[in-house]
């Protein structure tokens, strides 16, 4: 199988801190690899090595077949970088930022202008094109960040926490943009601390914690690690909670938990439990506001894998 990028055994230390202690990452061409972990897990360090900004202390990484240390120049020709550490310039306008990047990529000035215009209208920034970036809203800035990474039509794009700090609506906007990138055959490395984001976008997920990959697989595979499906129930009448809980316990043969007020959840062996629960609740005349069968979410996955949940360890080292 050919990988768009591949990292093996990357180690990076900063003084006495070990940011990466031997991680492997790989993404097929045209896929999104989600790198999921809390602050300080080493996500940004991994991206910076793959973007030729840092040299690994041990291990190797290749992008489009080129070694990130020996062939850094070639790697830089095929990558686009976006995120918390590769910023656009606040004092320049959207157009000026993108034209500058085009010029640095050896576009003729006219081509650089055309490309900037094309990207700005694609990302719905045409109206703000001639305003300094410092007047942009958070969402506009992220879109410009994304556009800046795309000027050179890269084969591989690194998105380092592209939605951190955005409100949910803006986040969905950025997600839509990211999905369109892979439709064009671009390979994306997405780092995130949002489990929901990795789940929504990534074809494969590597969960990293304290500089190690602690799990890797498709979102569904990761969810399966935690175990089977859960049945969630929210009765309309809170007074009938005890009755409803008894029915679920009976159907599932497992103890029922109440994760929140008016909510019940129970692990179930298969989806026949759903029909059984519907029939029994109906017979007992318990009204149902919500009844669903779900895989565990990625928060559950992280907890199972690390035993410590997604609490931040420390600020990202680099």
């Amino acid at each position: 199988m050919t990988y768009a990028f591949q990292a093996e055994g990357l180690v990076k230390r900063f003084g006495s801190t070990t940011a990466l202690s031997g991680i492997d990452l790989a993404a097929r061409q045209g896929s999104i690899l989600g790198v999921l972990g809390p602050n300080g897990a080493g996500k940004t360090t991994a991206v910076r090595i793959l973007a030729t900004l840092l040299r690994p202390d041990a291990g190797t990484a290749t992008v489009a077949g080129y070694d990130v240390v020996r062939d850094a120049e070639r790697v830089r020709r095929v990558i686009g970088l976006t995120g918390q550490y590769a910023s656009v310039d606040d004092d320049l306008t959207g157009t000026e930022n993108l034209v500058l990047i085009g010029q640095l990529l050896d576009f003729r000035t006219s081509d650089a202008r055309a490309r900037a215009k094309e990207l700005l209208s694609h990302f719905e920034l045409a109206d703000a094109a001639d305003r300094p970036v410092k007047t942009y809203s958070g969402g506009m800035r992220r879109r410009l960040d994304l556009a800046a990474g795309l000027v050179g039509r890269p084969d591989v794009i690194y998105l380092d926490e592209p939605t951190t700090g955005l409100d949910p609506v803006r986040r969905e906007d950025v997600w839509r943009i990211i999905r369109t990138l892979v439709d064009d055959g671009v390979t994306v490395l997405l780092t995130t601390q949002y489990l929901e984001e990795a789940d929504a976008l990534a074809d494969d997920i590597s969960v990293i914690d304290q500089g190690r990959v602690i799990a890797a697989g498709t979102p569904a595979e990761l969810k399966r690690i935690v175990g089977g499906q859960h049945l969630d129930l929210r009765p309309t009448d809170v007074a009938r909670m005890a009755d409803a809980a008894a029915i679920l316990a009976d159907v599932a043969g497992q103890p029922v938990e109440s994760p929140g007020r008016g909510q019940l959840t129970v692990p179930v062996a298969d989806d026949t439990a759903l029909t059984a629960a519907v029939a029994r609740l109906d017979a007992a005349r318990i009204g149902v506001a919500e009844l669903s069968l779900r895989l565990p979410n990625l928060d559950d996955v992280f907890f199972t894998l690390t035993g410590h949940g997604t609490t931040d360890t420390e600020e990202d080292a680099a």
Binding site: T52, A86, D91, Q103
Partner: protein, 273 residues
């Protein structure tokens, strides 16, 4: 945004053939110098040190010290202004280091570093872009100077040569501050350390007073101080005094500073993570 996102193919895939064009370092540096100029234009408050400060120094020095040192403010103005011009332009070069440090902190340079351009291009671009600061500083100083009575006693060409020589020296010297900008954490520290180094260099000359009035140890310092040579060259080219010796010394110092600090600055930039 769904409507515009339905035809993304031409956005990411349709590669325009970007032929590798020659003189990459020059073109990239010029593009980055333009960026630096735009930033200067948008943040005019950063120009206070090259607009109001020269005027303040002229007023302070000429009217505070002129009578005591030279017996007349006009004579003192003729004596001091070429040296003050040297000092101002040298001061202006510190800002390059401050700006670069800020750029790195903000992450703007990480994008440049992830691009297929020479490592030195962003640094050269910033230093070149800041030449405008030298020009403004000189125009303000000469403009205000002539308003209060300064006269070029040589000729315009020679005065122009003085300005260019001072700018060349400041350009070469600014690589020290670029290096400093790479080595310290905060823009404020660049400023602090930069001026700590600049005060003995600029004031430890015959800027304000003739050297023979100084104690011996200070005379020794003044004699080896490169700024003394630059100031003497500027004085010679604008008013009167020896020219050839100071000019040659200034050129040698310029080349020397560039040869030492340019590679060091680029290396520090490469290593900064």
């Amino acid at each position: 945004m769904s409507t515009t996102l339905t035809a993304p193919n031409d956005i990411t895939r349709a590669r325009t053939p970007s032929t590798t064009r020659p003189f990459g370092l020059v073109r990239h540096s010029v593009a980055l110098a333009k960026r630096s100029l735009i930033k200067t234009r948008r943040t005019p408050e950063q120009l206070l040190d090259v607009t109001l400060q020269p005027i303040m120094f002229v007023v302070l020095f000429v009217y505070l010290l002129g009578g005591a040192v030279a017996g007349s403010t006009h004579d003192y103005l003729q004596f001091m202004l070429p040296a003050l011009l040297t000092m101002q332009v040298t001061f202006a070069s510190v800002q390059t280091g401050i700006n670069l440090n800020d750029d790195i902190k903000k992450g703007v340079f990480d994008r440049f570093r992830s691009m297929p351009i020479a490592r030195s291009a962003p640094l050269i671009g910033s230093v070149l872009g800041d030449v405008i600061r030298y020009v403004i500083s000189i125009v303000v100083l000469l403009g205000f100077g002539s308003l209060v009575g300064f006269r070029i006693e040589t000729n315009p060409m020679s005065a122009l040569a003085a300005c260019l020589l001072v700018m060349l020296f400041a350009f070469c010297m600014s690589w020290i501050f670029v290096l400093l900008g790479m080595l310290v954490r905060e823009p404020g520290a660049v400023q602090g350390i930069g001026f700590l180094a600049l005060f003995p260099l600029t004031f430890g000359t015959n800027l304000l007073t003739p050297t023979d009035t100084l104690p011996g140890w200070l005379q020794a310092w003044v004699d080896v101080n490169p700024l003394t040579q630059v100031m003497a060259a500027a004085r010679g080219l604008m008013v009167d005094g020896p020219v050839a010796g100071p000019v040659i010394h200034t050129l040698l110092w310029s080349v020397g500073l560039l040869a030492v600090f340019f590679p060091l600055a680029v290396r520090a930039y490469r290593r900064r993570t």
